[in-house]
Symmetry: C2
């Protein structure tokens, strides 16, 4: 473990053999790391380990030098849920039954048993197991059925033990921060004032060249290319300002700048639609509802989303969005003309102010020389006559093409609502 | 690092400070871990580290006991891309310019520069940096612009160094396995014959109780609750059969079993629609296109997906799917009756054989006592008169409710195509 430069270090240990088989992706590591970073910690590592006690013990030993360690998972009722036991051993204390906690969990389980009809010895065993707490630890009230733990390790870190289901982990977070050993630690952490710049359509090599000519002393700069967006994060050491560096980066690539404060494209699109008082409707083929779903993912989106049509077949394009069959015949279902007709059709059928049309070859089959896999046509049209169109060839697999298409459509829509 | 029990151990080290700020989630760790498991390795850890050389070096040291280590990321053109340098130092060899590789990358970059208009010194610098190779390493041809590496560490693991973009990493995987040091290692790995069972609507505590009464000697059992599905993975040591345990688990909870061989719900729905020669259309409100998008995510889905309507507003429900305005008025937009009308409307408008309707209160606002946040109505109807309906109250945040709704709809659709 390297020494800290100005900020105390924290680490995250995520348990779950299912995360090592590829069955599911870990959502807790990134979430906890982000929140630790916002609190001012430098996150050194996120470790994912299986449900094997020795591997979890090794992982805790590896991060012993951190000031704070957060674990997720392994608090459930099954035999492979061993985190409380391993953390107790790491802290050199025994596990003890916490009787008030057992009674508390029993109440939760009883309500659940009445609702689902599952009951009996399996439940009692689960109850007892989940109420075992390392001696001297602070127990955090369950959000689901598993309590969390805060354990101070002598000559080691404060360990916060949280459950694996993201909803339970996130729900327990405020209580974890309020627990005395964590609150004491936080009081000594200098506030982070990190800053993010977001670009669209700018290659990473250009940012690298720009950065070589700038003074980055005391600022950790990380760049992250995420499909078509490039995010540049500036994390200063305590007392260092990021303003001069951010201003220089903004000026160097202004044409590609999406936001200078890290605001997401989705938030900008939502704000733009609200500002204009517009509603949007979509006509999607290859993206199959991903754009509509992304727009609707934000709370309150009913104020500016009317809906959309997933017109995957040609017949559906004609029947539901009024795309003329002879236009499809003449230009092909994947063509700038049909993208425009999808946008217009969606706008008109839903009575929206702005329409977005997407049609493309997502692959892996269906490509031709003229219209290869990855060729996608986009069009955004507005009731007041604006037409924005693009027809790039996008790289990658079927899901890459569909995701990049959704990105591209969002950026075209952003231009329309900003214009 | 604990000793291996029958299977050689492998570890994954993922680099990228952006993965520690929560900006994006790591997709490579789970993918590589899954493929290593299928090859017969026991994956001990996935470590995510920032772009700090000392932290990466510590991580490599931590997994020195593994037979194989796969790294991802840190091969790009920016100054924070340091993996090749750190791995060379871990192996105790210098970095050297690989001139044929430099020329090869120059060709790729030139084509890209012509297409995008970005060119000049930034590009030359990137080219040279990406062609530096540890002495004695096997270089793997770039899929994007960064070559991969296979480095044999004296008294240590074989380290496979892959680029961070998932498309490049996955594209380079076959070449990495074929490289001599990896191929030699693989020749000595006993084949894994793991098995997965998938359940729907079964609590984890029930599986835990069942497992306590069964003989699991020589089989690592992991359970993973993923929203409403429970996956049980059985990973045997070499020479151990999972058949008896799997049969017992199948018999114990047959009513909740989705598949006995790990086949996903999505694959079963696709196969069921194909077998019946049916097409499907969707009428979605709160899920906003997530169900259509999920159905279309599979290659070849045009054979059985007609499309769908995202009818977010009441006006759209009536105009696009023929839901009677007075029905919405009388029963409410979120009601079993409107779910049925959405299913019927989608089926009729698209000329499909089966229709799926979803309408619910995703939250965080809009809930009432009678119809709280999380109350969602589902209906599946078929041209030959089958009607399946449900109206559960689903827990969690807005995205949880939307994702669980999509799951529930998939399972209802699966029942219809199996029925």
């Amino acid at each position: 473990m390297s020494g800290s430069v100005g900020r105390p270090r924290a680490a995250v240990v995520v348990t779950g053999s299912e995360l090592l088989t590829g069955a599911i992706s870990d959502r807790n590591g990134p979430w906890v790391a982000e929140h630790l970073g916002e609190l001012g910690f430098e996150v050194s590592h996120v470790l994912v380990v299986g449900d094997r006690p020795a591997d979890l013990a090794d992982a805790l030993e590896f991060v012993r030098g951190a000031a704070l360690v957060v674990t997720s998972g392994g608090l459930g009722p099954t035999a492979d849920d061993l985190t409380a036991e391993v953390v107790a051993s790491f802290a050199g204390v025994p596990l003890e039954l916490d009787e008030p906690m057992r009674a508390h969990i029993a109440g939760i389980l009883a309500a659940w048993a009445r609702r689902t009809g599952f009951d009996g010895p399996a439940l009692e065993e689960a109850n007892r197991k989940q109420a075992m707490v390392p001696r001297g630890a602070t127990a955090l009230a369950p959000v689901g059925t598993a309590p969390g733990l805060v354990v101070t390790v002598p000559d080691g870190p404060v360990v916060v033990v949280l459950p694996g289901p993201p909803r339970e982990l996130q729900g327990m977070w405020p209580a974890a921060l309020a627990a005395a050993p964590v609150a004491e630690l936080l009081a000594g952490v200098p506030a982070a004032r990190s800053r993010s710049l977001r670009y669209f359509g700018l290659p990473e090599s250009e940012i690298a060249a720009t950065l070589r000519d700038l003074d980055t002393t005391g600022i950790e700069v990380t760049t992250c290319l995420r499909r078509s967006e490039l995010e540049v994060d500036l994390r200063p050491e305590p007392g260092v300002s990021t303003d001069a560096l951010a201003d220089a980066l903004i000026a160097a690539h202004e044409r590609h700048l999406v936001s200078a404060d890290g605001t997401s494209t989705d938030a900008l699109v939502a704000a733009g639609l609200r500002d204009k008082g517009w509603t949007v409707a979509t006509g999607e083929s290859c993206t199959g509802g991903m754009l509509a779903s992304r727009l609707i993912d934000r709370a309150g989106s009913s104020a500016y989303v009317d809906g959309g049509v997933v017109a995957y077949s040609n017949a559906a394009k004609t029947a539901l969005l009024g795309v003329p069959a002879d236009l499809i015949e003449a230009r092909g279902a994947v063509s700038p003309e049909v993208a425009r007709a999808l946008a217009d059709g969606a706008r008109e059928r839903f009575g929206a102010d702005v329409g977005v049309g997407i049609t493309g070859v997502a692959g892996p089959d269906g490509g031709t020389d003229a219209k290869p896999v990855g060729y996608v046509c986009f069009c955004v049209t507005t009731a007041d006559g604006l037409v924005l169109a693009r027809d790039p060839r996008l790289p990658g697999s079927r899901s890459d093409v569909r995701e990049r298409s959704t990105d591209t459509a969002m950026h075209l829509l952003l231009r329309a609502v900003r214009g």
